[in-house]
């Protein structure tokens, strides 16, 4: 690991992952206890993907997120208070309570929406990348999407255009093996979504999505390539969601085995990183536990703040349907 990421980067990545995990654990409890309405698609298990990619991005770089978007927002710098407030449907939330879990995002830090429409993001990211190139900036647009989403026509149109115009864009496929309750082998005839890159004339790269350093390094290469003006990359991260499709325990649909879940949990991405950090004397187990504790209390504070926030006023319902001047 001589040339690996610096200790500073490692600690930063660790912090991002722990923040996602704890945000989601607490969000899951809120949903199951009926404290927040709607449907929460939680990101637990996939933290290495958001953290490893986002560690390369500044606020000026754009991302598009998905229905499973909390992790992307946290990793991109989203604040717990405004995020929990959004889940609570309060006016202090990032979307003023209009969007909720599936649309949680903050344009100020380059998040062009979390999307309730599967594969809603990739074409929009291509638009942002087009804009970046047009405006001659070095910004990069990254789109996150699932294995399931790669079966939508929108993915194919977006990928083709990004490659054709050589746009500064990164397609990050979070292959967690399922689209809702349908396993990958039952929804596409390929094993590697990255294979699809060849059809559009861009590189397709596969990484272990539970190994955050592998994700970090592969994403870094692709993002640098994009910034150099060499066009898009499709980066497929093999990962797994530890919770159900919706919520924590979900709807009790029998579609994957407990053994399979258990097996993947043995490769918990946070645990893998913490073992490595302890081994390399970057972060002791005690210090790691202290990070968890600090983030947990920040989450609890944010939840209390969110819960005490007011709801949006009915009179303001129409305010943001159209732009009406500042």
């Amino acid at each position: 690991m001589a040339d690996g990421p610096s200790n500073e980067v490692l600690l930063d990545i660790h912090e991002r992952m722990v923040r996602i995990r704890i945000f989601e654990e607490e969000a899951g409890k809120l949903m199951e206890n009926g404290k927040v309405p709607g449907a929460l698609h939680l990101y637990v298990g996939q933290e290495a993907v958001a953290a490893g990619v986002m560690a390369h991005l500044s606020d000026a770089d754009q991302i598009t997120s998905t229905h499973r978007g909390h992790g992307h927002v946290v990793a991109k710098g989203g604040q717990f208070k405004e995020m929990y407030a959004e889940l609570y449907g309060r006016v202090t939330g990032y979307c003023k309570g209009m969007g909720g879990s599936m649309h949680i995002s903050n344009f100020d830090i380059g998040i062009l929406g979390a999307n309730g429409i599967v594969c809603g993001g990739p074409p929009i990211a291509v638009g942002a990348a087009f804009s970046n190139k047009y405006r001659e900036t070095d910004q990069v647009a990254v789109t996150f999407f699932g294995d399931g989403a790669s079966n939508e026509g929108a993915f194919h149109e977006a990928a083709n255009m990004a490659a054709l115009y050589k746009l500064p864009c990164l397609f990050v496929c979070e292959n967690n093996g399922f689209g809702e309750y349908t396993s990958q082998k039952r929804h596409q005839a390929i094993r590697d979504v990255a294979d699809r890159a060849a059809g559009y004339g861009m590189p397709g790269v596969i990484v272990d999505g539970m190994d955050v350093i592998a994700v970090y390094e592969a994403a870094g290469e692709a993002i640098n390539r994009a910034r150099r003006g060499e066009g898009p990359t499709l980066l497929e991260c093999k990962t797994y969601r530890f919770y159900d499709h919706v919520g924590v325990r979900g709807m009790g649909i029998d579609y994957r085995s407990d053994d399979e879940v258990k097996e993947w949990k043995q490769r918990d991405p946070i645990k893998l990183l913490e073992d490595r950090l302890a081994e390399q004397d970057v972060l002791s187990n005690d210090d790691a536990a202290a990070v968890h504790e600090r983030v947990r209390s920040e989450a609890m504070e944010a939840i209390a703040w969110a819960d005490a926030s007011p709801y949006p006023a009915v009179e303001n319902l129409l305010d943001d349907v159209y732009y009406n001047g500042e």
């Binding site: 309570g97 909720g100 309730g116 429409i117 709807m251 319902l317």
Partner: protein, 333 residues
């Protein structure tokens, strides 16, 4: 329509009535199959197809990739070549993903090709707000479909109608959409065990009344019935009409009612502007202008996407209270 015998009629929820409608349709037509996202192994995210995979097997209960355009296109092609597809596109908001297949292919194929194609396709989907599912999972888009010549559209509001609409739709030889309502899944009601079909294009009077005709679309039927109950206490009598099919539309039943009550109001959960309430109001004034004692009232959602925050979503959707207030206003009582 087969008359229901008492012995064979049970109280079952809307969700089960949907399952039964699909199940009996699959028995009736060997060429029928069900295709959609998570319809097979999961039995749908709404639980509406539970048990069908076990009963009919993978050939007839088909899990598809997340490819709505592909699903509808598959249905059009299969119907054109002799099958009788039942398609599920989950939330009706996902019409956005497949609107070309719906509007430019399915709706027009028979007409454009000189009446050669016959397309017995049924599309099932879930509409409506009320569950904090936000702007992309809560819409009422029936107007999109009603505006397309070549399509038929049903909106069942009771368990009885849910089953009977699906059976009618699958027997229908034209493309037809059955818009189900997610907030109604738990509503129970009497449903005969044997197969029966709701007549396509026939409205039903859910409650007779003498003062004002309330045409309620979809779930608003239940809100209108609650309003009618409430206003009856003050001696105000609402006639509640459930069109059941919104394309074709049963104008005659509405006109006959307005000729009796001399007042009319339309309520739907879709946004008011360019909603089908406008069409119905126009038909009433064209055919019953001389009978009207007041302008036709229209209730619908404000011109905004569906908000997530519970108090806003509640204010967004028309309800019994607002139906009652609008009825009073129209009647001046």
């Amino acid at each position: 329509m087969a008359a229901a015998t008492d012995q064979a009629t049970r109280e079952i929820p809307y969700v089960k009535a949907i399952t039964e409608g699909v199940q009996q349709s699959l028995h009736e037509f060997p060429e029928a199959f069900l295709a959609g996202e998570d319809v097979a192994v999961a039995g749908s995210v709404f639980g509406i197809y539970k048990g069908l995979l076990a009963e009919f097997g993978e050939k007839r209960i088909v899990d598809t990739p997340i490819s709505e355009a592909g699903i509808v296109g598959l249905g059009v092609g299969a119907a054109a070549t002799g099958l009788r597809p039942i398609l599920d596109i989950m939330f009706m908001d996902f019409l956005g993903e497949c609107m070309d297949e719906v509007a430019n292919q399915m709706a027009k194929m028979r007409f454009m090709f000189g009446g050669k194609a016959k397309l017995p396709v049924t599309v099932l989907m879930m509409g409506g707000a009320g569950m904090s599912m936000a702007a992309q999972h809560s819409q009422s888009l029936e107007a999109w479909l009603c505006h397309l010549p070549g399509l038929k559209v049903m909106m069942p509001t009771t368990p009885y109608d849910a089953k009977g609409s699906i059976i009618a739709a699958v027997r229908e030889e034209n493309p037809i959409f059955v818009i189900l309502n997610k907030l109604s899944l738990g509503i129970t009601g009497p449903v005969p065990e044997e197969p029966y079909a709701i007549p396509i294009g026939e409205a039903i009077i859910r409650r007779e009344g003498s003062d004002i005709s309330v045409v309620a679309i979809g779930r608003m039927v239940h809100e209108a019935l609650t309003a009618a109950e409430e206003l009856a206490k003050d001696g105000i009598s609402l006639e509640v009409i459930d069109p059941r099919t919104v394309q074709p539309f049963d104008t005659a039943t509405v006109i006959a009612s307005v000729q009796k009550t001399h007042h009319a109001m339309i309520v739907h959960e879709a946004v008011r502007f360019a909603g089908i309430g406008g069409e119905i109001a126009a038909q009433i004034q064209e055919e019953a202008f001389d009978y009207l004692d007041a302008p036709v009232a229209r209730l619908g959602a404000p011109f905004a996407p569906v908000p997530y925050s519970p108090p806003l979503e509640k204010a967004y959707m028309p309800d019994a209270k607002r139906i009652a207030a609008t009825a009073r206003e129209t009647l001046g009582r």
